[in-house]
């Protein structure tokens, strides 16, 4: 249980500290530090068990079906990291108390820091690799927040995004790698994975997996060429840098290498990739560090270099190299954290970090200077300090490796060069800042910092010294435990000691120190040489590549989504053409076996009228009025076709809809230009013709193929049950109101919604109403021709009666609520045309919206009614009653449903037409040119 509390406490700390906004700074700091201190104590309590070789585990089920659990383990490696994360974390929190200015929000920084701490703890303690990735990404997010802490500064925002982009990208690669790994092993459990080295390395995916995992590790630990985010992350407040770049964020990458060392290391690929990357980074970082004028910049590249060193060690094919790596992890954390903090003090006190301005600080802050110099000496690898010890081991291991075959000697040589560079930049750090004459143009008068601000540095520097002098006493246990976890099983005998006698590594150290001092003293020449090199600014490259990509995308999007409907439609038609056309070619024979119907003359004439109508619509499409007349022919002929092919209901519906559509189009024509301008190029017309011809051919082929084949369908059921089950003889109508009444319910909803939508569209419609027709004729003055008016009045009752007739017979003969509704609507439309909308408005005060709603309600409640008889929705009921004198009549619930349909249709149709008509009546007619 304790295990779980370690990350949980720091998460709790994050929440607590975020709520300390009202408290004093000391209270806030104290509360924030409390949680990690408790966690540290807990860890200490667990340490003996781990030292004794035990691995403490704790698993809680989370997403068992995906193999993702909340699983923690504490082994030597994890313990080492937990100590570092908590220990340095506590110091950083304490340090930040004094670092932050009164303007900066302390709770925010603490909350982010603690969140980050949680993430780091999660990484190192994970026993499930997906969970590991979970925390891995959490570090990316929390570091994004930390780096952009001063978000008003552009470099903070940019640095944060860069860090997020690189580490996030690496994180994605890592995820892929981990998923592959999990798939190879068959589990995401780390215990199992670490024991499955042979399976993993024999698997075909090993190389891919390894590369992906390494990508994750290298980006996080800022290995060349992914290093460039790290210097820009220095835009963060210095405590953040001290934390992220000494013990945590970048070490997460190293941790990953160490963590999977037992499972992934041991192959040539590992050694080559890891060691060469490490070596390059080591040299590159050390070299660049020398030229940085910004203190934090120097430390940043030095960090890169040291991370390269550790990576190189993990890539060397000796087991002691891994031990050395772990040792250096500890040492680097201590001296680098203290150096960052010292830099922070200098920055804090002087207002600058530019080494060209900072000179002679020794005089102003001798105590801080001493601490910084000790830490820098540790960084340089000066004896009696911890850095010296691990560097010795490093030199020794470079000599033992056989990585490059006959060229293996190159590694120790380059390592020595890197050592010399390290000495040189360390020397520069000491000399340039604390000595070297007088300061230049400092923004502030420097002095010693507040007493307690130095405490964390003191502790760390003390550690450097103690470890450097008594290595066995301090780090032996933890180093052994961690090494055990990394190397797995057998840990070779090793002895960390200050003095190994005169040997080759010592010589290398000596050469490095001498060479480093020499380099520093002769730095003038080196600077000249460096200045002559082309200046590769990674940030600029990153920014410009993002810029280029963004612009490219914007251009592409503009080009593709160019807002041209015609293009979108053509794409769709082409897709349809392809999908519908291609299987046609696979068919062996288009026509089927069904007996064909003979053609008679009048059908041929009807068909030709239809075709002529369609084609003339196209030919005259620019003269809209004429094309409208032409399309009416098509509509008429379609209705005739429906009568011809035994579909009286369809014919009726088509006819009525046709009339309403024409009226609607006439209305539209009034507000739209009378003619379409000629704007398509002939090529475009040709292309459109091609596509439309293609689609026509394909659809008619499909149609032909279908109707020449026999069909067995479910319709026999409807024919058999229409009368007995649905109580009607017009099967089509029974289907509509009963078998598939649900469709009809949806359909009237569509109609109702359309009417609502249309009236919505007409609100505040700025109309353009022409005062004359397209040929310049002013409109006739007579609005309501009297003959039309009086005949329309006479037709209304007749039409209503016809509509009632059609409604009533619908269940048994062609007709029904829909057609009846349209007939009624058309009768009223005729009144609108003949008398105008004001005349109607005076006489008909019903709100069409309510008619629609009542229609749907009637239909809906007819359906619901069947619930009261324990039947499903829309179960119809019908019965025959013998009424004296009148005879037998049929009553059916479907009829009530049809009433609903009727009302909806009437309401919707009239709402659509009347609201448009009303609009023009109220709008003043103006002469607007078209």
């Amino acid at each position: 249980m304790t295990l779980l509390w370690i990350p949980l406490l720091s998460l709790l700390g994050s929440i607590i500290s975020s709520m300390t906004g009202k408290l004093t700074r000391n209270q806030s700091t104290g509360l924030t530090m409390l949680m990690p201190i408790i966690a540290l104590l807990m860890t200490i309590s667990l340490a003996p068990a781990v030292f004794s070789g035990e691995v403490i585990r704790r698993t809680i089920s989370w997403i068992p079906l995906l193999g993702i659990d909340i699983a923690f383990r504490l082994d030597g490696l994890a313990l080492l990291f937990v100590f570092m994360i908590l220990g340095i974390g506590i110091l950083v929190i304490f340090y930040a108390r004094y670092y932050l200015s009164s303007k900066d929000s302390m709770p925010k920084l603490y909350a982010y820091l603690m969140l980050f701490m949680t993430a780091m703890l999660g990484i190192v303690m994970s026993n499930n690799i997906i969970q590991l990735w979970f925390f891995w990404e959490l570090t990316s997010i929390s570091s994004f927040l930390l780096i952009s802490y001063w978000w008003h500064k552009a470099e903070a925002r940019k640095g944060a995004i860069m860090a997020l982009a690189i580490t996030g990208g690496g994180g994605l690669a890592l995820l892929a790698g981990l998923l592959l790994l999990g798939n190879i092993v068959g589990s995401y459990n780390l215990d199992i994975i670490l024991e499955s080295k042979d399976i993993i390395q024999a698997h075909a995916w090993y190389e891919v997996t390894l590369i992906l995992v390494l990508l994750g590790a290298f980006t996080k630990s800022a290995q060349f060429p992914f290093h460039f985010w790290l210097p820009h992350a220095m835009a963060a407040p210095t405590p953040v840098s001290a934390y992220l770049h000494s013990a945590t964020m970048v070490k997460a990458g190293i941790f990953l290498l160490a963590r999977f060392y037992p499972a992934l290391a041991g192959t040539d690929l590992w050694f080559i990739l890891v060691s060469l990357t490490g070596l390059t980074t080591l040299l590159f970082g050390a070299y660049v560090a020398l030229f940085k004028h910004d203190l934090k910049g120097l430390l940043a590249y030095s960090t890169i270099s040291h991370l390269g060193l550790i990576t190189l060690l993990l890539g060397l094919d000796t087991q002691l190299a891994a031990v050395a790596a772990i040792f250096h992890i500890i040492n680097h954390a201590t001296f680098k954290a203290s150096l960052f903090m010292a830099t922070g003090i200098i920055d804090h006190e002087t207002g600058t970090r530019d080494m060209r301005k900072l000179n002679g600080m020794w005089r102003f802050m001798p105590y801080t200077a001493t601490l910084a110099m000790v830490a820098a000496a540790a960084m340089a690898g000066v004896p009696l300090l911890n850095g010296f010890l691990s560097k010795e081991m490093f030199f020794a291991e470079t000599l033992h490796q056989q990585l490059l075959g006959s060229m293996s000697w190159l590694i120790p040589v380059l390592a020595t060069v890197a050592g010399a560079l390290a000495v040189a930049y360390s020397a520069r750090f000491i000399h340039d800042v604390f000595f070297n004459g007088d300061p230049i143009d400092l923004p502030r008068q420097p002095s010693e910092p507040p007493r307690y601000m130095r405490v964390p540095i003191e502790i760390l520097v003390a550690l450097c010294l103690v470890v450097g002098i008594f290595p066995n006493f301090i780090v032996d246990d933890i180093l052994k435990a961690a090494s055990f976890a990394v190397i797995g099983g057998y840990v070779p005998e090793f002895k960390v000691a200050l003095w190994h006698g005169f040997n080759l590594p010592l010589l290398m150290s000596a050469i490095a120190v001498t060479g480093g001092v020499l380099l520093y003293t002769q730095r003038r020449y080196l600077y000249q040489y460096h200045a002559s090199l082309p200046n590769l600014d990674a940030k600029k490259a990153f920014d410009s590549s993002i810029y280029v990509v963004t612009k490219w995308c914007q251009r592409k999007i503009c080009a593709i989504e160019n807002g041209s409907l015609q293009r979108y439609l053509i794409l769709m038609f082409v897709v349809v053409l392809f999908f519908a056309g291609w299987p046609l070619f696979e068919m062996s024979q288009l026509g089927g076996q069904k007996q064909l119907t003979p053609i008679d003359v009048h059908n041929a004439i009807g068909a030709s009228l239809l075709m002529i109508g369609a084609i003339s619509t196209v030919i005259w499409y620019r003269t809209r009025m004429i094309s409208l007349l032409m399309i009416s022919v098509v509509g008429l002929m379609v209705s005739v076709a429906f009568t011809r092919f035994s579909a009286p209901d369809l014919a009726l519906t088509q006819l009525t809809v046709e009339v309403v559509t024409i009226v609607l189009l006439m209305l539209a024509l009034f507000f739209l230009p009378q003619r379409s301008p000629k704007e398509s190029s002939s090529i475009r017309v040709l292309r459109d013709l091609g596509i439309s011809a293609g689609l026509g051919i394909v659809v008619s082929s499909i149609c032909y193929a279908l109707i020449t084949r026999p069909l067995e369908s479910i319709s026999d059921f409807f024919l058999a049950n229409a009368k007995t089950g649905g109580g009607g003889t017009n099967v089509v109508n029974v289907i509509l109101v009963d078998f598939r009444g649900f469709d009809t319910l949806g359909e009237i909803c569509v109609l109702g919604i359309a009417a609502l939508g249309i009236s919505k569209l007409l609100v505040n419609l700025p109309l353009i109403m022409p005062s004359h027709d397209s040929e310049g004729r002013p409109w006739a003055k007579e609005r309501y021709p009297i003959l039309l008016a009086s005949i329309s009045q006479s037709l209304l009752p007749l039409a209503l009666m016809v509509s009632f007739y059609i409604f009533l017979r619908g269940h048994n003969l062609p007709g029904g609520g829909f057609i009846a509704g349209l007939v009624t609507a058309i009768a009223f439309i005729l009144q609108y045309i003949a008398h105008g909308s004001n005349w109607i408005a005076e006489r008909l005060t019903i709100n069409y919206r309510k008619i629609i709603a009542s229609g749907i309600i009637i239909a809906l409640f007819t359906g619901v009614g069947s619930w009261f008889f324990g039947r499903p929705f829309m179960t119809t009921w019908f019965d025959y009653f013998d009424i004296p004198f009148i005879g037998e009549i049929e009553l059916a619930s479907a009829l009530i449903f049809d009433v609903g349909v009727y009302f909806t249709v009437v309401g919707a149709t009239l709402m659509i037409l009347a609201s448009l008509g009303q609009l023009t009546t109220n709008a003043p007619k103006e002469g607007v040119k078209i």
């Binding site: 004729r777 003055k781 021709p785 003959l787 039309l788 005949i791």
Partner: protein
Amino acid sequence: MTEWIISILLLVGGSFVLVGSIGLVKMPDFFMRLHGPTKATTLGMAALLTAAMIFFSTTQAGLSVKEILISLFLLLTAPISAYMMIKSAIHHKLESIERTSGKDNIEDDI
């Protein structure tokens, strides 16, 4: 006998309808074209519908007289359609053939 009557009515009706359409095509100006469809076609339809009425009354059980209704509708609406069309023709100032008399009876701008 009824078959004869039906046949004759059908032929008469068909002829009138055809004549109406011929008039539509043959006449030289819009106003003259209007006469054929308005009258001949209407009468033709009446004949056809009467034929249908007799046909359905004899072939199917019971009297079928509802075809009268269509005739009724046509008689009601055909003159109004014609009226509206001639109005729009006048509005469009369509040319009538030269020998048309009484053109000055047409008032402008209605």
